[in-house]
C-alpha cells in the first residue's frame, strides 16, 4: 500500500483472527492490531486527530508549542505528528512509566516534564493544567476531554471494524481516556444496536491510587457510561498472563494493556460458548510489547513479572 506521507498511513490496521484462543468456530476472537500504526500504538489516530482539529479551529500555527499530559503512547504519537508538522511538544508524564517511552519521546523531539509516581495519570493531568494556566500561549489538546479523540475512532477504527467483521457482536478495549470505547462504541451502536461494548480497566497496585482523598479522583470528561454494556477491572497478574498467552498461542507480541482487554474478551467468549450463543468478539491490541521489554514482563514466572511491574503504569 502506498501513502504520500507517514501521516497519511495512520489507521487502516489489520483485524486478525485468533483460531487457537477462540473457544469454537461459533465463538471467535479477533485482534485489531493497532500496533501497526506509525509510532506503534492506537494513539497515533488520536494524536493526528487532536492536532488536525486544533489546526482546523485555528488554535495552532507553525512553531507553536503543544502541551499534553500522557502516560506515553499519546505523547509519542503527538511527538511524531508535531515533528512532521513543525510544532514543539511538551509532555507531562508520570515518572513510573517505562524507560522506552521516555527514550522514544526524546527521539521524536519532545520535552518531558515528569510528574510524581503517586497518583499516576491523575497527577500528570493536574500538573499539565497548572502549566497550561502559566503558559497561555501553549496549546493543550487535552485528550481526556477533547471530542476529537473519540471522533478519531468514530470515523476510523469503528468503520474499519464493521467493514472487516460485519457479524461483530462484541467490542472490547482498554479504558484510559475512554476515547476508543466512546468513539467505536457510538459508531457500532448506530450500525448494530445489539452490539455489546465492553471496557477492560487496568487495576493497578496501591501506589497509583495514592490519592489524598476521594474528591481527587478523576473521570475523563469524554466518559459517557451509557455507551458501555459493562466494565471489568483486570489486575496485573491476569493482564500479564493473557499477554503471554497471546504470544504463545497466536504469535502476537503485544503490550501489557492488551492482556487486560484479552482477559475480558476471553471471559465473554467463555460465557457465550457456555450459553451456546454465536459471538464475534473484536478487541484492541493497543500497542506492541517492545516498549515494555525493560519492565521484565515477558521473562521468568508470572509472579516474578508481577513483582517487577509493581508500581508501574503498565497500561
Amino acid at each position: 500500500m502506498r501513502y504520500d506521507s507517514l501521516l497519511d498511513s495512520v489507521g487502516g490496521t489489520p483485524l486478525i483472527g485468533l483460531p487457537r484462543l477462540s473457544p469454537s468456530p461459533q465463538v471467535r476472537l479477533w485482534a485489531k492490531l493497532e500496533d501497526r500504526n506509525p509510532t506503534g500504538s492506537v494513539k497515533d489516530r488520536v494524536a493526528l486527530a487532536l492536532v488536525e482539529n486544533a489546526e482546523k479551529e485555528g488554535r495552532l500555527k507553525p512553531g507553536d508549542t503543544i502541551l499534553e499530559p500522557t502516560s506515553g503512547n499519546t505523547g509519542i504519537g503527538l511527538a511524531m505528528v508535531a515533528k512532521l508538522k513543525g510544532y514543539r511538544l511538551v509532555c507531562v508524564m508520570p515518572e513510573n512509566t517505562s524507560e522506552e517511552r521516555r527514550q522514544l519521546l526524546r527521539m521524536w523531539g519532545a520535552q518531558i516534564i515528569p510528574s510524581a509516581a503517586a497518583g499516576g495519570s491523575n497527577e500528570a493531568v493536574r500538573v499539565a493544567k497548572e502549566l497550561a494556566a502559566e503558559h497561555p500561549d501553549w496549546v493543550m489538546p487535552y485528550q481526556y476531554g477533547n471530542p476529537a479523540n473519540a471522533l478519531a475512532h468514530y470515523y476510523g477504527t469503528g468503520p474499519e471494524l464493521l467493514a472487516d467483521l460485519p457479524t461483530i457482536t462484541h467490542f472490547v478495549a482498554g479504558l484510559g481516556t475512554t476515547g476508543t470505547l466512546m468513539g467505536v462504541g457510538r459508531y457500532l451502536r448506530e450500525q448494530q444496536p445489539e452490539v455489546k461494548i465492553v471496557a477492560a480497566e487496568p487495576r493497578y497496585d496501591e501506589l497509583i491510587y495514592g490519592l489524598r482523598n476521594l474528591d481527587e479522583g478523576f473521570v475523563p470528561e469524554l466518559y459517557d457510561e451509557s455507551v458501555l454494556t459493562t466494565r471489568y477491572s483486570v489486575g496485573a497478574h491476569d493482564a500479564l498472563r493473557r499477554t503471554r498467552e497471546l504470544l504463545a498461542a497466536e504469535g502476537i507480541f503485544a503490550g501489557i494493556s492488551t492482556g487486560c482487554a484479552l482477559h475480558a474478551a476471553l471471559g465473554i467468549a467463555g460465557q457465550a460458548a457456555k450459553a451456546g450463543e454465536r459471538a464475534d468478539i473484536a478487541f484492541v491490541v493497543a500497542d506492541g510489547g517492545w516498549k515494555y521489554l525493560s519492565t521484565g514482563a515477558y521473562e521468568g514466572t508470572l509472579d516474578e513479572a508481577e513483582d517487577r511491574i509493581e508500581g508501574q503504569l503498565w497500561a
Binding site: 481516556t177 487496568p202 493497578y204 496501591e206 491510587y209 490519592l211 489524598r212 459493562t230 466494565r231
Partner: protein, 90 residues
C-alpha cells in the same frame, strides 16, 4: 453469608488499616450498611445522597456494579467486592 470487601488505601483509616474486611448483605446497599455498622463513617465515604460517589468505583467479582444493578446488585456468599477510587489512564 459473607462477602470479602477490598478497601483502598485512602479508606483504611476506617478499617484500622485492614486491606480486606468481611461483611454481609443480600445486596450492595445492605452490604454498605453493614460495613458502616462495623466501620462507622465508611458508608458516608462511599455514598452521597443515596448514590455511589462519582469518584468511587465498586466491582463485584471484577465487574463494575454500575453495569449490574448499582446499589441493588445482588450478592451471594463468597462474592468478592472491590472498592477503588477513579483514576485516569491514557
Amino acid at each position: 453469608m459473607s462477602v470479602s470487601v477490598s478497601i483502598p488505601t485512602i479508606l483504611r483509616t476506617y478499617t484500622d488499616g485492614a486491606k480486606r474486611v468481611e461483611a454481609t448483605g443480600a445486596t450492595l446497599s445492605e452490604l454498605i450498611s453493614d460495613l458502616d455498622t462495623r466501620h462507622p463513617g465508611l458508608g458516608d465515604r462511599l455514598l452521597e445522597n443515596g448514590q455511589l460517589r462519582r469518584f468511587v468505583n465498586v466491582y463485584k467479582n471484577d465487574e463494575d456494579v454500575r453495569f449490574i444493578d448499582g446499589l441493588a446488585t445482588p450478592l451471594t456468599d463468597g462474592d468478592a467486592v472491590t472498592v477503588l477510587p477513579a483514576v485516569a489512564g491514557g
